[in-house]
């Protein structure tokens, strides 16, 4: 649920700080710039953390606003920074709601099957509305050049698009609770897995086609094939990473036995300990190896197919430098017992944000000067009732 700096949630859609010289025929491209500093964010992080612990988590909503503002206000397109206006109390309400839903979902099946299925039904019914509200909160509270972004919150469309996704997502749990035979469950699980890229694409299309900046609406060109290709390559990579991880785990186990022998310890070692270390190593290598590639490629596809009026976006993230950066951040965070984390967050955000370009047909400054504020419909104030973090 929580947002991570550097994911696109932190970098709102749009355009440019420094003109990048290109061939004369090409439209002007401007790079998105990020000016956050690790040492400054470290201070924000540590104060946020202390106040969150002291207030038993209540301050976390204010912490989220400070953190988001820091990342937004340090992100510039065409020399102008983004701004974030989310109200902490709305975020606190959203977090309490999310906590209630999470607890209900985790415990309901322990109470009884009926209560469990009822909870899933409630989640399916409330889910599209909640997701829509969360998007509305996020974009309506983001601004650039004094104008707010927006999100077209059309309730029937939200249900048409998202309800089937939720039903497919929960299908395994529902059928499992109804004691459907195992082979059927396996087939349903496999089908869900095969549908996952399509579902993810549907979600992204819903999200990106409904964003607006002032009175300009965004468009999203369907890219189902490219989603499948990214997922497929990610899956292949996962297999390779798992193989490498298993080899590493074997190496660790072999080394541990060798070490014991060298120390003259007799008898078989603590098999469980070695198994845990080895299993952990496989998991970490697979996660570290595949996740950066997967998220970078997906970000590239999503932004490459999004448009805001005449403005297009281009992201160029190469997997290897990102993997290297992630490994470095993880190693330093572990070695410093977590104290490097805020520096890592800034480094990762810079990497992702500064590899994004905004392409406008003319000077961006002129292209957007005519954009005017959208008249806010009655009832849209309800967007501020609560804010939810949805890291999708």
């Amino acid at each position: 649920m929580s947002s991570e700096p550097g994911r696109e949630e932190i970098s709102p859609p749009a355009a440019a700080a420094r003109e990048v010289p290109g061939p004369a025929a090409e439209p002007p491209r401007s790079q998105v710039r990020f000016s956050g500093s690790g040492s400054e964010y470290f201070r924000i992080w540590v104060v946020n953390l202390l106040l969150t612990l002291v207030t038993c988590g209540v301050y976390s909503a204010w912490a989220k606003v400070r953190k988001t503002r820091y990342f937004y206000q340090n992100t510039r397109v065409d020399g102008h920074a983004f701004d974030y206006h989310g109200a902490p109390l709305a975020i606190l309400r959203g977090r309490l709601l999310a906590l209630v839903l999470l607890v209900a979902y985790s415990w309901s099946f322990d109470i009884s099957r009926t209560v469990g299925l009822a909870t899933i039904a409630v989640l399916c019914v409330a889910g599209p509305w909640l997701f829509m509200k969360a998007q509305q909160f996020k974009f309506r509270n983001s601004s650039w050049r004094g104008l707010r972004f927006g999100f077209d919150a059309d309730l029937p469309a939200a249900y048409r698009t998202l309800l089937p996704l939720l039903v497919v997502w929960f299908s395994g749990t529902i059928l499992g609770a109804l004691l459907v035979p195992l082979p059927v469950l396996g087939i349903v699980g496999l089908a869900t897995g095969l549908l996952l890229p399509l579902m993810h694409h549907t979600l992204k299309r819903y999200q990106h086609a409904r964003i607006s900046y002032g009175d300009v609406a965004a468009q999203f060109q369907p890219a189902v094939g490219r989603f499948y290709s990214v997922y497929f390559k990610g899956f292949l990579l996962l297999i390779v990473a798992s193989a490498v991880g298993s080899l590493m785990a074997l190496g660790i186990a072999w080394g541990a036995n060798h070490f014991r022998a060298a120390l003259g310890i007799e008898g078989p070692g603590d098999i469980r300990g070695v198994a845990i270390v080895a299993g952990g190593a496989v998991g970490i290598v697979a996660y570290l190896g595949v996740w950066p590639y997967f998220s970078a490629r997906l970000q590239q596809v999503v932004w490459g197919n999004s448009r805001l009026g005449p403005v297009r976006f281009h992201t160029y993230i190469r997997a290897w430098p990102l993997l290297w950066l992630v490994l470095k951040c993880v190693a330093l965070t572990v070695m410093t017992l977590g104290l490097y984390w805020p520096y890592a967050a800034i480094a990762l955000a810079r990497f992702r944000i500064e590899r994004m370009y905004v392409i406008a047909p003319a000077e961006l400054n002129e292209a957007v000067a005519g954009v005017s504020a959208r008249t806010v419909a009655a009832g849209e104030g309800a967007a501020d009732i609560f804010g939810l973090d949805v890291g999708l």
């Binding site: 000016s35 540590v46 206000q73 340090n74 050049r145 984390w341 000067a369 504020a373």
Partner: protein
């Protein structure tokens, strides 16, 4: 005032109605802002109390939100911040804390102390309080889940005869009436699928699982009773529930501190730590066992003898997974303490 003074601050004004950028110069005059356009002509004056300010930051612009919905974006905010400081307009407390290196160092120190204190004292205290406040049904349900997964993965039905099992149950029942009155428990016999399985463990909710291996390895039934008394100590003190709650609390703190980063790692202690009790819990259960044995006219000897036998076994061979040694390490220190009791 027709022209802007040289000391004025460059900024961009957005009217909030269009995205058009208007370059302006801003002067802080008294407790008001004077805005001049690029040509130097006076645009407007705004009293500071009718504006809201974003918090200052080293490299981010500072925003001034005017009450008509327009915004000033001041990219080089340092002169503006200084002018406001001179007026005594200070940012909010968290913002000031975040700007000061001393405060950040202090916060870090307090945070580290709080984390250490929370880990060693706060979380165990809170877990104890919650464990005793929770309705027994929650604990029972958790215990059932543990039992189900143990039965599925590691255990099978006991090989002891029905008579033997009944004898063990009534032996414990009689002793518990004197040594642990009012403690709700259920004794179940099981065997491990692999390994010797010299073990017994207490699950949340009061189920005590006694493995055949332990019954066979014990020199007499007094030793079995002593181990069961120790497990009753875990039950009476709700150690199982407290263990789960503690792991959950530590996971929650880790999650709050490092976000998603620790998410996966935080689950590891929950899974693997669930059957392993801390030294503190083991000591409490040992004390309980000794009191239990004394209430039955015995002393700590059966427990000590069993621990010593186990420690000796450890020197001779390695043991399997569901082993007494891995969940109840009979350290020298522990045996010494029992002897002093």
């Amino acid at each position: 005032m027709a022209t802007a003074p040289d000391t004025s601050i460059a900024a961009t004004w957005f009217d909030g109605k269009t995205a058009a950028a208007h370059p302006v110069r801003v002067d802080v005059i008294g407790r008001a802002l004077a805005l001049h356009d690029a040509g130097g002509a006076h645009m407007r004056s705004v009293p500071l109390e009718r504006t809201r300010l974003s918090e200052p930051s080293a490299r981010a612009p500072r925003f001034v939100y005017l009450d008509d919905g327009s915004t000033l974006e001041i990219d080089d905010a340092e002169p503006f911040n200084r002018a406001l400081d001179a007026l005594g307009m200070r940012p909010s407390l968290p913002a000031r804390l975040q700007r000061s290196a001393v405060a950040a160092t202090g916060a870090l120190a307090i945070l580290l102390v709080a984390l250490v204190f929370g880990y060693t004292q706060g979380v165990p205290l809170l877990a104890r309080w919650i464990a005793f406040a929770l309705p027994p049904s929650v604990e029972a349900r958790l215990g059932e889940q543990f039992e189900r997964s143990l039965d599925l993965q590691m255990l099978r039905a006991s090989g002891l005869s029905e008579d033997h099992q009944t004898r063990l149950r009534s032996m414990l029942q009689e002793a518990a009436a004197r040594g642990a009155p009012g403690v709700q428990y259920v004794l179940k016999s099981r065997a491990t699928r692999q390994g010797a399985g010299i073990n017994a463990f207490a699950l949340p909710g009061g189920t005590i699982v006694l493995l055949d291996g332990l019954v066979e390895a014990a020199a007499d039934e007094n030793q079995v009773l002593a181990v069961l008394a120790h497990e009753l100590g875990h039950v009476a003190n709700k150690h199982g529930m407290r263990n789960v709650l503690q792991a959950f609390g530590i996971g929650a703190i880790a999650h709050a501190t490092w976000g998603d980063f620790a998410g996966a790692a935080a689950n590891v202690p929950v899974v693997f730590g669930a059957l392993r009790y801390s030294r503190e819990f083991e000591r409490e259960a040992d004390e309980y066992a000794v009191a239990f044995l004394r209430a039955n006219g015995m002393d700590a000897q059966p427990l000590i003898q069993f621990f010593e036998a186990m420690a000796e076994r450890k020197d001779h061979s390695g043991e399997g997974v569901a082993d007494f040694l891995s969940t109840h390490p009979p350290t020298k220190e522990r045996i010494e303490r029992l002897k002093r009791m």
